[in-house]
Amino acid sequence: MTDHFFGYPRPDGQVGIRNHVLLLSGTLYANSTCERVAHTVQNTIPIVHPLGRCQIAPDLAQTFRTLVGHGRHPNAGAVIVIDHFKEQGCTADEIAHEIAAAGKPVEVVNIRRDGGAISATAKATRLAVDLNRQINTQKRERSPLSKLVFGVNCGTSDVTSGLASNRCVGWVADRVIEAGGRVIAAETTEMFGGEELIKARAKTPEIADKILAFIAAMEKSILACGVDLRGSQPTGDNIEGGLSTIEEKALGAMKKWGTKPIVGAVGYAEPIGEESGLWVMDSPGHGGESITGIAAAGAQVMSFSTGGGHTINHPLMITMRLTGNRQSWAAMEETMEVDVSDMFQGTPLEVAGRRLLDEILAICNGRMTKAEALREWNGFAINRCGPSV
């Protein structure tokens, strides 16, 4: 088994698998400036979103934590935080201050302070050029697999997901943990019905209780709407693909978790601990919000398994898509990396799982995903826990 990859060691001990200049929008009114710079300067990644202001405190704290987590992400070698004027409790200066603790170069551009959107674009463009020249002499170094944080997620699931692709992801998750690495799973909605598995897998009863509390809170918030979850979950494409209930979808989704103990549970976009093993994060089933939470915790690479095919990818956490559905591979190969549908013709799990692991390691070592080559950024979305006010 390969026990290493080649990455960019960061001052805080994390290891990146890319060395990008991140253009991090602090608020929706800086999004266009971020995007202009990203179109102009190579090796930049824009993170844009509709949040950052008029949010109640816990919700704003979640947005802030998510943005800081992305600034600290090891795939960003340097960061420019771009702000519109002055937010309350989520300023670019505050975000940059937290990112700077990770020891990487961080700059702030403020549209009003820097003379308007055109002037701010010019300033951020110059900074992005200079930061690129500053970081791009760094060489990849041999890093143990124990430095890998592997995110697992799935979407547009169908019956093949639980039988093929998610099982392959679980097989890879086990290998990463055996090498001393960490795995992050999420999607609380897709744990409904899997409570007994969680109790059996959690390292301590306290960890199990914490995850069961995530599930209970999610279920309570859905029940509070006074409607049947059916109509929202399973989704239309899930049902078309043969999944009948949220429980069936969940039990198939949890195949991604592999077989190793759950060593910890964290809230949305919270950092995970140092212990090797499976970490479970509270998040909705919504793909973009879920993978964004996992990225904020520092996963360098993610497997996203799908039944119907997908275009999802996270801008910073490199996202590899796979399917076990041959028709979906034929239809959606342009935005997917691995086909494991031959498992239905008898290919053993170890063989298909190895194929996935080889692709993940190649991606860690620099192979572009199709999304990277296409410069697609379809998967950044911050979860909300309160209303806009």
């Binding site: 409607v227 979850l229 043969g242 209930t245």
Partner: protein, 97 residues
């Protein structure tokens, strides 16, 4: 012959590999068992969907992966398509509170 997977020996549903037509015989591979179990489909089954591996009475649990994935909302005979028309979730039924 058509193949189907019974993922756990406790399951009362099987997953068809590909699509199947009414009257077709299906060799069901049951996890942990050497010999397949043969079931005749009593309705058309879309690609990769489930069918009943045993008769399932209305109200009783539907079991897949060895765990409950919902309950039958109608009597389901062996070999019949199992999906949203005849099983329902036990979770998050805000419509019933």
């Amino acid at each position: 012959m058509l193949q189907a997977l019974v993922i756990d020996p406790q399951d009362n549903v099987a997953n068809l590999v590909g699509a199947g037509a009414r009257g077709a015989a299906v060799a069901c591979r049951v996890e942990g068992q050497v010999e397949p179990v043969y079931v005749e489909l009593c309705g058309d089954i879309p690609a990769n969907h489930k069918f009943a591996f045993t008769d399932i009475k209305a109200g009783l649990p539907v079991v897949k992966y060895g765990l409950v994935i919902g309950r039958a909302s109608a009597d389901i005979p062996r070999g019949a398509h199992v999906h949203v028309h005849n099983i329902e979730s036990n979770r998050c039924r805000g419509d019933r509170t």
